[in-house]
Symmetry: C2
Subunit: 206 residues, 2 copies
């Protein structure tokens, strides 16, 4: 792609560094900014810089937070003995949206993935094991994605905390609510039959 | 979507102002920036701000340019009598990529579209008519998209320049090179038969 302006080229190149944004999309976005008032670009640039420079992570759960402890960890009404292990802060947001969980989180910051060069040392696993060691946690809920990497990470953590004898659970896998059985994949359908629950229990969540 | 941080929320909100970027995509992009070194965000923000503040448009054709006249208009080898009218600078880039055009461009900055509140006054039509009035232009090539808006814009400009008696042409519409006839839409196929060209002419472009 040949540009008639270095400034434009530079902006497009930087924009296309973002994941899923190719050169063409970057050009479209940049030309959009050119059509908008100058303040909009200024506000976008300021918001990004300010966020990147001042962002803070919760000292307890590694969730993004503007304060030392995030709102969840600082909330006395929430049960700190129950810890849900998630991959990233989007998962925290997703689970919070359900309003079904009143415990704390622990954000790992990724999954063990040797293919991408991510080992256990790159994730917040040590701090999780330390937390378990204190004896203040009664249950650890694994809520990682059910991929090879997610399973590996679950197992790695499980092995580390096994000696401390706490309850470990994993979120239920099964057919999505509202889905037709005939279109479900075999593995999911198989698991949902294997891990069936008493009908009375299911009535409670209606 | 509830955010645990105002800084994050602000960055996501600004990012999601961009066309085609929803809140979820914006969050993904912003979290990506958080995982990258701080310089990357700084460079992106600086590139955008610098571009928006210092961008310049060619005084002759309204193409984006770092100099008063763009490279195309400043090039003495190019034929200023031949002017190709396009919608935006992406079209200039697309035509330049073909290396088949040695004239000048005129970037309108959009199409007449009452539905979007874009009238002739919002486009660079007056400057085009002025250019035609000088008598230095021999042919005007319409290369707008063949939509209702594009056709309206073509016709509006045509009516304005009609008194000056210059040649006006429009780019050929037809079946794409390499396409199968059976899958072509009827309108395009119909036009390509109606506007057929001598076989000898087609041989020259091989």
């Amino acid at each position: 792609m040949e540009f008639s302006s270095k400034l434009l080229e530079n902006a497009v190149n930087e924009m296309s560094q973002l994941p899923g944004i190719g050169k063409r999309t970057a050009l479209r976005l940049v030309l959009h900014l050119l059509k908008q008032p100058q303040e909009q670009t200024g506000k976008l640039a300021a918001a990004l810089t300010k966020m990147r420079e001042n962002i803070n992570f919760c000292a307890n759960c590694h969730n993004i937070s503007d304060t030392a402890l995030c709102e969840i960890c600082a909330n006395p009404k929430r049960d700190g003995q129950l810890v849900c292990v998630v991959e990233d802060i989007r998962d925290v947001m997703a689970i919070e949206n359900t309003s079904q969980f009143r415990g704390h989180y622990h954000v790992l910051g990724g999954k063990i993935s040797p293919m991408d060069g991510i080992g256990p040392g790159d994730l917040a696993i040590t701090s999780l094991v330390e937390k378990v060691k204190t004896g203040n946690i009664s249950e650890l809920i694994f809520a990682l994605s059910s991929t090879m990497e997610g399973d590996t990470t679950n197992f790695y953590i499980y092995k580390q905390i096994e000696p401390f004898n706490i309850t470990t659970t994993t979120i239920a896998r099964g057919i999505s609510v509202g889905d037709e059985l005939e279109y479900a994949d075999e593995v999911t359908l198989g698991r949902s039959i294997l891990h069936r629950i008493p009908f009375e229990t299911s009535l409670k969540s209606l």
